[in-house]
């Protein structure tokens, strides 16, 4: 996509992640106001608001765009609401970007926020035997960590990753998170602490698995022409948004599925689903893994961060552990991964998560990430995946 087709980030904002126990709307509004403040714009300047939906907070969560717009004060702005599980934020961003690129608006606000119950995510209530997300709990007791653990065990068997490697990911991310004022967990941890934490889904322990959190994130997107006209400090460019779905046959067992697609008739595609998510973003941006200054990847578990590092092309299959052990993916390393502290430090606030990644991309690329600043960051990728086959990858550049 050429410069003429670009959309710029004018501001990013977050409500700190935590277990605050308040309605999601407040987190979203706080994040929106922070993003607008950073952009130097008013809510009344916003022509289009997109809300990333939450499914655990009743009707207001299903119509997040309207909910946030009302809370900020009705202005008549156009809105959209969308849900794509953990990829909701990327889709919301893409909807906003597309409307700007189409010339239908100049300023769009994208907001996601969640308020989560304690413990495992559970399916939406009621007896719903037609819903695979309900059935996987009913028939198998297969929680989200169970799927993360299947990937982790598979990784150990294929590549020889160890529990010590997984613990090292947590140690690295906790250290980065300790430097992030928006993170929920801000304490450095030791490998011994991780390895002594209770086993949840073998081989993953409590400290290998991300928590479920409350939080909110927001981004203000503008057209280059509008940024110029208003004199905004908008140097970060959205170079790609990938919202791809899997290609048939998908040979990796996806949440919340009971089985993979069959390869009986059609051979597996060239890339796995996760790899295809990043690939589409690289193609759109005209960049490759070697161009990145850092990456934010979806570390639902410590082991999954290692998978992602390979899926986004920063290491060959089985090579992420080597990068980790060499310190390459740590802050100050050759290619920092999750300088925000990642989900390990934030926990998961589903509709806000992809937007939180974009906030980190924005602040790092603006050079305002403080103690966790990646030196001379020029280009970065954020990758994520929502259950039911939702890809999410964003590349931003300066």
């Amino acid at each position: 996509m050429g410069q003429a087709m670009s959309v710029l980030v004018a501001g990013a904002g977050m409500h700190p992640w935590g277990k605050w126990g308040r309605p999601f709307v407040g987190y979203g509004v706080a994040a929106a106001r922070a993003a607008l403040r950073e952009a130097g714009l008013e809510w009344t300047d916003v022509q289009f608001l997109v809300g990333a939906d939450t499914i655990r907070n009743g009707y207001p969560g299903f119509v997040a765009g309207a909910t946030f717009a009302q809370a900020l004060g009705w202005t008549g702005a156009r809105i959209a609401s969308c849900y794509a599980a953990c990829a909701s934020g990327a889709q919301a961003l893409d909807i906003a970007r597309t409307r700007i690129l189409a010339g239908l608006c100049d300023v769009a606000l994208v907001v996601g926020a969640d308020s989560t119950p304690k413990g495992f995510f559970t399916p939406v209530g009621g007896d719903r035997p037609d819903d695979p997300d309900w059935l996987r709990f009913r028939l198998l007791g297969a929680t989200n960590p169970a799927y993360f653990a299947l990937y982790a065990r598979r990784r150990m068997a294929l590549y020889g990753s160890t529990s010590e490697d997984f613990a090292a990911v947590k140690v690295k991310n906790a250290l980065a998170g300790s430097l992030n004022p928006n993170a929920r967990y801000r304490t450095a941890v030791t490998a011994e602490q991780v390895l002594a934490s209770p086993m949840v889904a073998d081989p993953l322990r409590l400290m290998d698995i991300c928590a479920t959190s409350d939080g909110g994130a927001a981004v203000v997107l503008v057209s280059p022409e509008y940024a110029r006209r208003r004199g905004l400090d908008a140097t970060v460019r959205i170079a790609a948004i990938s919202t791809v779905t899997p290609a048939f046959p998908n040979t990796v067992l996806e949440l919340p599925c009971f089985a993979t697609d069959s390869t009986a008739a059609v051979p597996p595609p060239e890339r796995t689903f996760r790899a295809s998510i990043a690939h589409a973003a690289y193609e759109e941006a005209g960049l490759g893994p070697a161009d990145l200054s850092f990456a934010e990847v979806y570390d639902l578990s410590t082991a999954l961060e290692l998978d992602w590092i390979e899926d986004v092309g920063l290491a060959p299959p089985g090579g992420a552990d080597k990068l980790l052990r060499a310190g390459d993916t740590a802050l100050g390393g050759r290619i920092p991964v999750n300088p925000s502290g990642g989900l390990a430090s934030f926990g998961e606030a589903v509709p806000a998560q992809a937007l939180a990644q974009v906030c980190e991309l924005t602040w790092q690329l603006r050079g305002t990430a403080g103690a966790r600043q990646v030196v001379n960051a020029r280009a970065a990728l954020a990758a994520n995946q929502g259950l039911f086959g939702h890809g999410s990858a964003i590349i931003a550049t300066v």
């Binding site: 695979p132 059935l135 007791g141 086993m199 009971f258 390869t263």
Partner: protein
């Protein structure tokens, strides 16, 4: 697990926890999938209507019994009782799960593992389909020792 197993012998067969996904005939369990008559793609859970192969126009998906043996793609357990709608046994013992690859169908199928813990499992080992009761009675497919 054991009490309901005994009940099987003195009472009626336990109800399946889900209809049409597996069958138990004379104590032999089979997963029930569907196979596209046009492209031969296999679907599990059984798919009706359209074949999921995007380059196939097939709508004739006939029930097929999947291979009973496969190799472990990966495995894990649930050290804490999974939340509802799962009915956790009391006292709770960890549920073991395995994703098993069926070579002929080219498919990996997730299931509970019967009478084995994660210490008994390794990636690549062979397991065979069986069935067993959930803590509140209904029966599901499970992977077990061949």
């Amino acid at each position: 697990m054991l009490p309901s197993k005994r009940l099987c012998h003195i009472g009626p067969m336990p109800l399946p926890a889900i209809d049409g996904w597996f069958a138990v005939d004379d104590g032999v369990a089979h997963l029930l999938g569907t196979r596209c008559a046009d492209c031969r793609t296999v679907h599990f859970p059984p798919q009706t209507g359209l074949c999921r192969n995007p380059r196939c126009q097939g709508e004739d998906l006939a029930e097929t019994r999947l291979s009973r043996r496969g190799t472990v793609w990966s495995y894990t357990n649930a050290c804490y009782p999974p939340p509802a709608p799962f009915a956790a046994a009391e006292p709770y013992t960890p549920v073991t799960l395995a994703a098993v690859e069926l070579a002929e169908e080219g498919i990996v199928v997730l299931g509970q593992v019967k009478d084995m813990t994660v210490d008994d499992l390794r990636v690549g080992m062979e397991l065979e389909l069986t069935s067993g009761a959930l803590a509140d009675g209904p029966e599901v497919w499970m992977w077990g020792r061949p």
